[in-house]
């Protein structure tokens, strides 16, 4: 084993990739041994994806070379990379929803098989590695976990020597992660190397033997995971000390304790990819953070739409401070003091092609249309809205590339800080936030989480819909789990463990 492990499979020297004047990878050196699980750690935008795309033949390096099995290779395209023995599982998958599982696999295989041969080898491979897939189903009908299994099976059918996995656990339940790790460990035992991309530190400690850390396009360090703590990994990745969150103090209480109650909320799915919300019941008090955990695509989007008023239902389904608002529109709910931060930053929470102050105007318009003190009724007042958005920027550490940019010109983290700041600026009583730190770097995520805790300390109520279990446990007072359109009983955080939550998420 030892002897085999010491051989180098892939070695990249001085890899540089530029997009125009932007350097995405700056003379990267990395070495992957045979049968090794090698982690690639870095924040969003550190250059991880660019690097692996060069390994998979999707991008051409500008400088440097890649040695595979001690020979310099020119990875022209993914097909060529596959014949060399390099497979890749993409973060957002590279599947075709309208095609069946076997059709999806067929078109990425380079050897030509008949339909029967193909289905047989799919079933064999899936049995061998414990990855359950059903060849004749359409991908659109599969859960994300199943989709990932299809991607992995697709790679394994080509008998890869190196398997690249881009953030594979971001969409999985804890139990599915356990299964995935088993598969990966077995693969590595059988001699297949794995390049595992992630920004989740404990995962890297658990699965990988070596880790290479990227920061701003450069390699910071490569080390054995045995000898390093997650704290040190985090600091190397971010480049500075991580400030721990200050817990929340329950000081003020507003007049009434109960903020919002949802009673037998029902929404039929809008299309075949949607989820039907079934009999959702919960209440939330002021000064509390209610965390709603769940794997993406289990009804979070639909729940958010029902709570915000994008879809309307019966009046009594949602009661806010004794007012039945289940059939009231967004504008009305806003005026009552409820704010919403939807999951999608672009297109949903902001208009990408409008400036920040215009985006501020659009949200605040409903508030001030009646009291006229802030904006006049029909016309924009740039001076006032610029002032308002400047205030939001200042209070929330929103870093703009230049003065008053378009929403799309902000980085993900900064835009999210702006959107959350905008919601808080309206001085809401209740904020409903969906996936606030999805795809946001650690620094910005920490600021956002601290803001949420602070707001709860001020006696506001917060509903936090998130698929990040760590976040749910860090911020919430009580936790519910949404699975296939059903919401579990809400329990106090103290009476729940991540494993329990994971079981409630449901494993497919």
């Amino acid at each position: 084993m030892d002897n085999k492990n010491s051989k180098t499979l892939l070695k990249a020297s001085g890899l540089t990739k530029k997009f125009g004047s932007f350097v995405a990878n700056d003379s990267i050196n990395i070495e992957i041994k045979k049968g090794e699980i090698h982690a690639l750690l870095g924040e969003n935008g550190a250059g991880k994806s660019t690097l692996v795309k060069m390994f998979y033949g999707l991008l051409d390096p500008d400088e440097g070379n890649i040695k595979f099995n001690n020979k310099i290779v020119n990875l022209l395209n993914p097909k060529f990379a596959r014949t060399m023995g390099i497979g890749m599982v993409f973060q957002h998958f590279s599947l075709f929803p309208a095609l069946s599982v076997s059709e999806n696999i067929l078109i990425s295989l380079d050897e030509k098989l008949t339909k029967k041969q193909l289905e047989k080898s799919i079933i064999n491979t899936s049995k061998k590695w414990g990855l359950k897939v059903s060849p004749s189903k359409k991908v659109a009908e599969l859960s994300v976990g199943e989709q990932q299994r299809v991607e992995i099976v697709r790679c394994l059918l080509q008998k890869p020597k190196l398997l690249i996995m881009d953030e594979p656990t971001s969409v999985l339940s804890p139990q599915e992660i356990v299964n995935l790790f088993k598969v990966l460990k077995n693969l590595s035992k059988s001699g297949c190397s794995i390049l595992y991309i992630s920004h989740k530190l404990h995962e890297i400690k658990e699965i990988a033997s070596k880790v290479t850390i990227l920061k701003s396009a450069k390699v910071v360090d490569t080390m054995e995971t045995k000898n390093v703590s997650t704290n040190i990994l985090a600091e190397k990745m971010v480049g500075k000390k991580i400030i721990r969150l200050k817990g929340k103090k329950n000081l003020k209480k507003l007049s009434s304790n109960l903020a919002l109650s949802v009673n037998n909320l029902y929404r039929f799915k809008r299309n075949q990819f949607g989820v039907t919300l079934n009999n959702i019941n919960f209440t939330i008090d002021y000064g509390q953070v209610l965390g709603i955990a769940g794997i993406a695509g289990n009804g979070q989007v639909e729940l958010m739409e029902a709570l915000s008023g994008e879809t309307l239902g019966k009046k009594e389904e949602i009661i806010f401070e004794n007012k039945s608002i289940g059939n009231s529109k967004i504008e009305f709910r806003r005026q009552l003091g409820i704010e919403f931060v939807p999951e999608e930053r672009n297109n949903h929470a902001t208009v990408p092609d409008l400036k920040l102050h215009e985006n501020t105007f659009l949200t605040f318009f409903g508030y001030h249309i009646f009291n006229k003190s802030f904006f006049n009724k029909m016309f924009t007042n740039p001076t006032l809205s610029i002032q308002a958005s400047k205030q939001i920027e200042k209070k929330n550490d929103v870093r703009c590339p230049y003065d008053n940019p378009l929403a799309k010109q902000l980085s993900g983290g900064n835009l999210q800080k702006f959107i959350i700041g905008r919601a808080f600026q309206a001085n809401p009583k209740l904020v409903i936030i969906s996936q606030p730190t999805w795809g946001v770097d650690i620094g910005a995520a920490n600021i956002i989480r601290q803001k949420i805790l602070n707001l709860a300390s001020m006696g506001k109520a917060i509903i936090l819909i998130s698929q990040d279990l760590d976040e749910i446990f860090e911020l919430s007072d009580s936790i519910g789990v949404i699975s296939n359109g059903n919401l579990s009983k809400i329990k106090n955080k103290k009476n729940m463990t991540p494993t329990q939550v994971g079981l409630l998420m449901g494993v497919s």
Binding site: R82, A98, E103, L106, I107
Partner: protein
């Protein structure tokens, strides 16, 4: 009765051909609204080449060739310059209407010889059916064989699956290594070829002389037909016959003096198109997913 059925079949051929081509283009994710223009181009090229070479078969060849060439303009803009597909398609039709008017000017008043009928041995001797289905011109047979071939190509063949994959999710197709732009270029080219042949059919069989804008909206009907068929080849065949039937109905109505105003009968095909589109859109909302997901979206390479 017999002659009525024959007329319906023959009238359906141009929209069937154009629809077949557009179906493939749309399956690959490209919405080409220039079908009417490509048909006109095919028509004028066919007519001109028959006048020059004197052989109706040359008409088929040059009609198809002209369709391919003019579709290249569309591909160049939408696939490589990534312009808006709807605007470019409309522009193509307007451009082609003008261009064919100019080219067709000297052909006005001249009549060409039609495509010869080919009787299929044995089959054409079957009473009733034989004379309806098996005594037609070559392009008629080609159109029927083509739609059957397209059906099996899309469902059974590896390349058919690849085309559907590109139309379903072009980013995925790119990331597993398929040349999205090249595949779309070929599909749009096939669409141009079919539209060109469909256009050519009009002077070669239906009305053997040139008049400006002689496709008379058949390209638009072909576009609606693809949606009506929900991108399924055999439904396209059925739809083409229905639309052909309705078109003929107006002539029959006029000839027999039905108590409807002729304007009403004239608008029937378009009315049916609108009704069909409404029904389809309701069906789509309730969960029909046959629409290619990438349809009409430009593909941007990089990152």
């Amino acid at each position: 009765m017999e002659s009525l059925l024959i007329t319906i079949l023959v009238t359906s051929v141009p929209i069937l051909l154009a629809g077949t081509g557009e179906l493939i283009a749309e399956k690959s994710g490209v919405l080409n609204l220039g079908v009417e223009g490509m048909m006109l181009t095919g028509a004028v090229a066919a007519l001109g080449s028959v006048l020059i070479f004197g052989n109706p078969l040359a008409g088929i060849f040059f009609g198809a060739l002209a369709g391919i060439l003019i579709s290249l303009i569309f591909s160049f803009f939408t696939i490589f310059l990534m312009t808006n597909q709807v605007a470019t398609g409309l522009g193509l039709t307007i451009f082609a209407t003008g261009l064919t008017g100019l080219i067709g000017e000297p052909f006005v008043g001249k009549t060409i010889s039609s495509l010869p009928k080919i009787d299929i041995i044995f089959l054409s001797d079957i009473p009733f059916l034989g004379s309806i289905f098996f005594k037609h011109d070559i392009l008629f047979y080609i159109s029927i064989l083509l739609i059957i071939a397209v059906h099996f190509f899309l469902i059974k063949s590896r390349y058919g699956i690849i085309i559907r994959a590109v139309g379903d999710n072009h980013d995925s197709a790119h990331s597993i290594g398929y040349p999205v732009k090249k595949i779309r270029l070929l599909c749009v080219g096939f669409g141009g070829m079919c539209a060109g042949m469909g256009g050519a059919y009009i002077p070669l069989v239906l009305t053997p002389h040139w008049s400006e804008g002689m496709t008379a909206g058949k390209g638009w009907i072909a576009l609606a037909l693809v949606v009506f068929a929900s991108w399924l080849p055999f439904r396209l065949l059925l739809g083409a016959l229905i639309f052909g039937g309705i078109t003929i109905l107006q002539f029959v109505g006029q000839a027999r003096g039905w108590p409807f105003p002729s304007q009403f009968l004239n608008m029937l095909p378009y009315l049916v198109t609108i009704i069909a589109l409404s029904i389809i859109s309701i069906k789509t909302r309730s969960g029909n997913t046959l629409v290619p997901s990438s349809l009409g979206k430009p593909f941007l390479e990089n990152n």
